[in-house]
């Protein structure tokens, strides 16, 4: 498995192929469409992160002192974001998760779109993931 830094770099390289927001958007939608579905039993209030315009269900679990994430959303775009976060964060140690600044979000030039903190749940999602790593 790639390191966290390698995973981030790979995403950055992928996005470097696209010039426009249009292309990046379509790529994220594709990632979203490909995200493996979350087991229905996790799609409940307990696992829900409410954004203003979309909902995310996040399931975190530990295995062998690594942390794994699975998630789903009613928005395909948010599912694309989830796919990116899972690529970078899932299967890492708690320390790795706690310490990363997720600089790829800035580096792929989508900060303004991905960080609409109050419109979609990305920020809350990252917060939840980091909290899980703290426990």
């Amino acid at each position: 498995m790639k390191t966290l830094a390698e995973a981030e770099q790979e995403i950055i390289n992928d996005f470097a192929l696209f010039d426009t927001w249009d292309e990046k958007y379509q790529y994220i939608i594709e990632l979203g469409q490909q995200l493996p579905p979350l087991d229905d039993k996790f799609k409940n209030e307990e696992h829900k992160i409410k954004g203003c315009q979309s909902s995310v269900w996040l399931h975190c679990y530990r295995d062998n002192s690594k942390i794994y994430f699975r998630a789903d959303s009613d928005s395909t775009f948010v599912k694309g974001e989830i796919a990116l976060l899972i690529k970078v964060l899932s299967g890492r140690t708690p320390d790795e998760i706690k310490n990363t600044s997720l600089h790829f979000i800035d580096a792929i030039g989508l900060r303004q779109h991905l960080s609409m903190t109050r419109a979609n749940g990305l920020a809350s999602m990252i917060k939840k993931m980091k909290e899980y790593a703290e426990v």
């Binding site: 426009t20 927001w21 958007y25 379509q26 939608i29 469409q33 315009q53 009613d74 775009f77």
Partner: protein, 418 residues
């Protein structure tokens, strides 16, 4: 050319002329011409308004009302002149019935607080509708909690129209105030406010009108409507953010206690007894948003110089054309199909998340709004999480609608791929 055609062509050239006054409409977004269909959220501003701001700050800026110096007198005069302009714009009897606020939200909060304190007691009832903006819900909820009053809600039908029978049955001696949105920001419905006011006045119940959306589209005539309060926002009617109006009948305003305390709203202050100015000054505490009120005056001048009836017709054409075209797309359902509608088009696309589609439109330089539009109860009624809303103003064009519809089709196809 037919007369109709001539009219259309001259309308087009009028729209082009108007568009040239709006610097932001000349902009590209992601290399594509901006198509701004988020006018119900806020309108764009003509350069005349920007100039009014710059001019004021470059030539008159001063604090108002008590200054004996030149700048202060100029600024005071200009500020008070806008009160007169607003009076004329909404056909109020006196400029003393015009209170400047931050916007519709604050105007409603002011009434909820001050009218509530003066007139609402335990068990009294306030009536609103099921299609209110949160700004015409939450202030009443807060007030009803404090005053132990009851909030009643006029229900709507599947077209997004008020059930007037229910409304009529709701009226009673306990009803202390009715507050109704003139044009719904999420459905586009134009409510029969005149009829509501007449029914209410038969029982001497005052009525407040939320004109946040209507003030830019319709001619507002408070004398004819005979409403008791009316609220509007500068930023939705070509003016700057941070300014708004509360109109209130003097008979009521006079009986209402102050809302905020501070400079300028007092007659005299001492630690034993403080006395207050008469309306409107009683309700304008502290340094007002002088510059933006003055620039709002420039927005009113700009609106007054237009042929608003013609422009309204143009907006209605945009609405009808857009509705027709959008409905041709598979899976699209329009939310808000009232007979009387303003140029606001809300819809959902089956199986497609509204935000995803809104973001796709954004990639094409098209600005629409998605979500609940601060009217969650409307979404709950229609059992949907939100809609996509395209809201048109007179500076929009049929060509823009075409571009929008074609982007919509592409977006839906893209998002439906699984």
């Amino acid at each position: 050319m037919t007369a109709e055609k001539v009219k259309q062509v001259s309308m087009n050239s009028e729209i082009i002329r108007i568009r040239n006054d709006f610097p932001i409409l000349q902009q590209n977004v992601y290399g594509k011409p901006l198509i701004y269909f988020d006018n119900a959220a806020t309108s764009q501003k003509p350069r005349q308004v920007l100039q009014a701001l710059s001019e004021y700050y470059s030539k008159q800026n001063a604090n108002i009302h008590r200054g004996v110096h030149y700048l202060s007198q100029q600024a005071s005069e200009m500020y008070e002149q806008v009160r007169v302009k607003v009076r004329d714009f909404i056909h109020a009897r006196s400029e003393h019935e015009i209170i400047f606020t931050r916007g519709t939200t604050e105007s409603i909060n002011l009434v909820a607080h001050s009218f509530g304190n003066a007139f609402v007691n335990k068990g009294d009832e306030i009536i609103i509708t099921a299609m209110e903006h949160h700004s015409n819900i939450v202030p009443w909820q807060l007030m009803c909690e404090t005053r132990k009053a009851v909030l009643k809600v006029i229900p709507i039908n599947d077209n997004g129209e008020l059930l007037m029978e229910s409304f009529n049955q709701m009226l009673s001696e306990r009803t202390k105030l009715i507050s109704v949105v003139h044009i719904s920001n999420s459905l586009g419905t134009i409510n029969p406010v005149k009829q509501i006011i007449e029914a209410a006045h038969q029982r001497s119940i005052p009525v407040m009108i939320d004109a946040a959306q209507s003030a830019i589209h319709e001619e507002i005539n408070v004398a004819q409507l005979d409403c008791d309060f009316l609220a509007m926002s500068s930023h939705k009617m070509l003016g700057p953010t941070g300014a708004g109006v509360l109109y209130g009948k003097m008979e009521l305003l006079e009986k209402m206690p102050p809302y905020q305390g501070g400079g300028d709203m007092i007659q005299s202050v001492s630690f034993n007894e403080t006395t207050y100015q008469n309306p409107p000054f009683r309700f304008e505490a502290g340094t007002q948003n002088i510059a933006d009120v003055i620039a709002f005056g420039a927005a009113l001048d700009y609106l007054n110089a237009l042929d608003r009836k013609d422009l309204l017709r143009h907006e209605q054409q945009l609405l009808q054309y857009a509705a027709e075209q959008v409905q041709k797309i598979d899976g699209i359902r329009i939310i808000g199909t009232a007979k009387e509608k303003a140029s606001i088009l809300s819809f959902i696309a089956e199986g497609v998340n509204a935000m995803d589609l809104g973001m796709y439109l954004d990639t094409q330089g098209i600005a629409v709004r998605t979500g609940h539009h601060c009217t969650e109860p409307v979404m709950d009624f229609f059992k949907i999480p939100g809609t996509i809303r395209a809201s048109f103003l007179f500076y929009n064009t049929i060509n823009e609608v075409d571009a929008f519809v074609s982007a919509l089709e592409k977006g839906i196809t893209l998002l439906n791929k699984k």
